[in-house]
Amino acid sequence: MILRVAERVVRSALIGYAAGSVWLRYKGPSWLDRIARRDPKARDLSAIHQKNADQIYRTATRLRGLLIKMCQVIGTRSDVFPPAYVKTLSQAHDRLPPREFEEIRCVVEEDLGKPLDAVFSEFETRPVAAASLAQVHRARLLDGREVAVKVQYPDIEHIVKTDLSSVRRICRIYERFDPQPMELLPLLDEMNQHLALELDFCREVESGDRIRKLFEDNPAVVIPEFYKEWCTGRVITMEFVSGIKVTDIEALDEAGIDHRRVVQGLMGIYTRKIMAFGFFQADPHPGNIFIQPGPRFVLVDFGLAKELPEGFGLGLFELMFSMMTFNDQSMIRAFDELGFETKTGDKSTYVEIARRMIDRSESRRFEGEFTEGMTDELFEAIRENPIVQVPIDFVLVARAFALLSGIAHTLGHRANVLESMAPGATQLRS
């Protein structure tokens, strides 16, 4: 108990220190400018942004838990944060040093209500992957089936709650002292929601089952089977499916797998999940996607599976379709349908954003590709027109597409989104 309190105090102090430093780096020069009668808005803040982003990143990688997740969220919000933050904090991947095996064994035995060897004939003590909330071990059930066991860290819920309340307190103080605060509390609420989803392993199992069912007509999509009798709120036991990490170029080449087909196939799967099913993994980072010859796509980790509101998929389809067919009027209607809002109700902002995107597309003859550059440009256009309110679902989807574009970039190909959205045209017109 005493240890927990001490840990809590140390974490809160470190978070508070980092937050205070960040705030002072902005406010100090601004006060000096006022004294010297210079316009504080004229100051170039890019160096300060970078320093602050670096400090947040360092603190997060030291404290892990919620802060890593916070970095990941900020790293995707190029509509809100300056590029230095987005670039630096998006590096906060879920690749972290693992926890001691004894801690993991305790969770598994406590949750399954049996000693480890009463369920598994083998259980590798070294994890195959370790992330901010859980780690994965390879094991074998008593009946011989090879499995992957995902185990949540024993104290993670407590750490997340502690950090969340520290960060929330800091945000409130910041809002009190800053006359024009950046709206950070909604971001925290969003993160809180996501963490609740990710910490609920029962929901993750349900989401994986649902995605497997949705793709039952496509043998190229492989979702490992879950062994429900050995799944709990903190432990997931699933079929061990091998595959090559999607960004492991050498291994893909050795297996003779065509990168272009990987990129296009992956985009097709996500387009269908998002636009057709309205249910998708919001976190398609390379560690969650493995490739088998064919190519077949092994998808894992459904912690951040997200249900989109009805009509959202069609709205998004219209937005992307109109952007890729250079139709600005349709793009403007799609902004409306998706729930974008302007404070004044004036639609001219959409017109400006739409024209900018269309001009970019047309002048570069992008042939249906949706690249990282386009996502950046769209959010840059939105950030430069701050009256626009971006629906959070759109941000999540854009993040997923940006991650996919990143994979495509690593593999040296571009995905043609238009093609990935296209139906078998001939099936319909005839």
Binding site: N327, Q329, I358, P423
Partner: protein, 369 residues
């Protein structure tokens, strides 16, 4: 290279083009608009095309249509004619006009709204034609290509086609026009949430292997794409008849005249698409294709085989699969209704049971006109 100097392996292509009609055009010319008296506005959306002396005139046809006529005249004067598809191969739209009316009279609007929305989306995807990889045809075809539709595919024809289908800049295209027709007829109906799920269903079918492995992949790919789009465009005529009649029926349509007229405008706009594709394929047909191993294949052999394969695919197995899937959808849509089994019985009784008029082994002859 003069055509006369060559000995075409395909059908003969005699002397040069008629002297009086221009046959070379710039992209700007092929995209040029007639001067409209007033624009077409549908459902509050500015669409392409417009009116001259009260008559609807299709977009980008100021030069494009006369150009296509000139290329076709040249083909007809000098060669074996222009390829065509016999209407006997055309699968009827499903649900049929009578079936659709039966559903609408019974208050079942969802399948028709879904069908119209899917048509609009598929029309929009016609814009993908601008992204079709076009190889250097001068290196792939033995004879001269000057003054042909083939030499204008990437110089305006594909781009005009794409703009017609998906709209461009501030103008709506066929996608938006079908949506407008739907919304006029059914008073802005709620679009079923499963439209995209159904459209993207069963994708990832295996690509067909090449019919002519010695041809450069992109050359066969281009011919196959043009043949595919041409067959679809020709078959779409039945969809237009269906749409005009259904949406034009005041018993089931809230704005019969306006909705039906909208479909008729789309139908008119499709004519240049069908005609330039027929022309380009016919031009390949009467030329000689060069293979990667230094050989030659008559264009006629390639075009006819690809067209026959497309026809079998588009007109035989797919309509059957599509009809079965639609039947199930409609059954699900009306399942909750009172007397649903009676409605389904009447619906099924109106099925004309159309089947493809050739067996697997029967040859498919390509018509010329």
């Amino acid at each position: 290279m003069s055509l006369d100097a060559q000995t075409p392996v395909g059908d003969p292509l005699p002397e040069g083009p008629p002297k009086d009609a221009p046959i070379e055009f710039s992209e700007a010319q092929l995209l040029a608009e007639p001067e409209f008296d007033e624009p077409l506005i549908a459902g509050g959306v500015r669409c392409h095309g417009g009116f001259i002396d009260g008559e609807y005139v299709s977009p980008r046809t100021l030069v494009r249509m006369p150009a296509i006529d000139a290329w076709q005249s040249r083909l007809r004067l000098e060669g074996p004619g222009v390829v065509d598809i016999s209407r006997e191969f055309m699968p009827p739209h499903y649900p049929s006009l009578e079936q659709a009316k039966l559903l609408l009279r019974a208050g079942v609007q969802k399948p028709i709204t879904r069908s119209l929305t899917m048509i609009s989306i598929v029309e929009g995807f016609g814009a993908m034609i601008r992204d079709v990889p076009v190889p250097d045809l001068r290196a792939a075809i033995k004879e001269d290509l000057a003054g042909t539709a083939l030499s204008h595919l990437t110089a305006g024809l594909f781009e005009a086609h794409a703009r017609d289908e998906a709209g461009h800049r501030d103008q709506g295209g066929h996608k938006q026009m079908w949506e407008a027709a739907r919304d006029l007829a059914f008073d802005n109906p709620r679009v079923p949430g499963d439209v995209l799920a159904r459209l993207m269903q069963g994708r990832g079918r295996n690509r067909r292997p090449p019919l002519f492995p010695t041809l450069p992949e992109k050359v066969e790919g281009l011919i196959a794409t043009m043949a595919n789009v041409m067959v679809i465009e020709i078959f779409a005529d039945d969809v237009f008849s269906w749409g005009e009649a259904l949406l034009g029926d005041p018993e089931v349509s809230a704005a019969a005249e306006a909705a039906s007229r909208m479909v008729s405008y789309i139908r008119a706009d499709e004519r240049p698409h069908v005609e330039y594709l027929r022309t380009a394929l016919s031009e390949v047909r009467c030329r000689t294709l060069l293979t990667i191993d230094g050989g030659e294949i008559p264009g006629r052999e390639v075009v006819d085989a690809i067209l026959a394969q497309q026809l079998r695919g588009i007109a035989s197995s797919r309509p059957r699969e599509q009809r079965e899937a639609l039947h199930e959808e409609i059954r699900a849509d009306i399942a909750e209704m009172r007397l649903s089994s009676e409605l389904m019985r009447k619906f099924t009784a109106l099925d004309d049971g159309w089947t493809f008029p050739r067996s697997e082994d029967d040859p498919i002859e390509i018509a010329l006109s």
